[in-house]
């Protein structure tokens, strides 16, 4: 307990109730375990970021959209979609369009804009149609995005 006070000549440490006491006492076993866990967590975080920094290709967003399910609501049909970004960059203001086709002709179109789709992540949204998607061919497209 005296070790940490040996360097103090100026007598500024006379306030005995100083918080330095907490650090001055020899650490118990539990403290070492806590310190080890803390070090592990911070080192892992740093390691993961370093790994991504070095191996990431820094390429553009790679967006794709798939249907999750189609629900029949009171006065419309809801097509729930999942938007996936496999790329290394975040896409903002992503526009998704869904078309209902009959004999190759688009009979209804619906679109949504999603705020952010981060890298390697996915977002969920819904498209609303008046006509029954089951009676048509449904085509989903991602139209574009902006860089955040």
């Amino acid at each position: 307990m005296g070790g940490s006070r040996q360097g103090n000549e100026e007598g500024g440490g006379q306030s005995g109730a100083d918080a330095g006491d907490a650090a001055a006492q020899p650490p118990s076993r539990l403290e070492w375990i806590v310190a080890a866990l803390g070090l592990l967590l911070v080192a892992s975080a740093l390691g993961l970021l370093l790994y991504e920094a070095v191996t990431g290709d820094g390429g553009p967003p790679d967006l794709s959209v798939t249907v999750r399910d189609t629900l029949t609501m009171d006065d419309h049909y809801l097509v729930r979609v999942a938007l996936r970004n496999e790329g290394d960059a975040t896409a903002a203001e992503v526009q998704v369009e869904g078309e209902l086709l009959r004999d190759g002709e688009a009979t209804e179109t619906s679109a949504i804009t999603i705020d952010f789709v981060p890298a390697q992540s996915q977002r969920q949204a819904g498209l609303i149609f008046r006509l029954d998607p089951a009676a048509h061919e449904l085509r989903l497209r991602v139209l574009g995005y902006s860089e955040p």
Binding site: A19, E31, A35, E52, F116
Partner: protein, 286 residues
Amino acid sequence: MSAGSGVARAKSAETDEEARRFRLGLARAYGGAVIFALPVMMTMELWWLGFYMNRWRLLVYILAVVPLLVGLSRLSGIRETYRWRDDVIDALVAISVGATSSAAVLMLMSIIGSGMTTDEVVGKIALQSLPAAIGALVAQSEFGSQSEEEERRKQESGYAGELFLMLVGAIYLGLTVAPTEEMILIAYRMSDWHAIALLLASLLAMHAIVYAVEFRGQAAMPGDVSAFRVFLRFTVVGYAIVLLASLYMLWVFGRTDGVSPHEVLAAAVVLGLPGSLGAAAARLII
């Protein structure tokens, strides 16, 4: 303490004094609640979360803060507390102060009002009342004078107490920015090298502040062994706590759903900047 002659007079004077101090403490609590929580109450993401936040998550959010408030009450609080039971009561008082002040301010600014479902109103008040409750408990040290008993308890709380104060500091500063869009925008825009630099800068800033606060009054950093020990036990562990607190806040406000671990980590490091400053300076704030 009052020194009346005659036991009965002394006793009633004591209870009067205690009641007066409680009222004073309550007034300070309301002040602290509004001052701390006002920026939070004027953040639109928290209004939206009021109606779209998953109710189970909201429950976790509410329940998780209670032990935090109890611990805070032990070290700070509205009035002197001698038993754990008193701290629990103080925590509940803080929550009610938080809830009533939030409801009043939200109504004043027309963020809650007629025409909204009960669910939405309750959600909005619940979300705002927790930062307000923390503000209520911290108010005592901000505005009032801490009793000797509390000062002593703080000094003697040891390592666990230090870590707890760091946690509270991290949440205190982090809560104001955690739900905002700007925070994830920063995370999404920056490169991994930025994130690494931010992490190291946070560690450095924390260490500088922790050293300045912990060792004030001592001439120099006492010896190499101790310096390393301080870094490990306070700065590194403190930053680990900050990261965990950031991850928790991100999860509670729905910023982790469907997002890759890498992006979540980047957001946690961004949130960790105010968090680590709050943690390091906790001894000064709380």
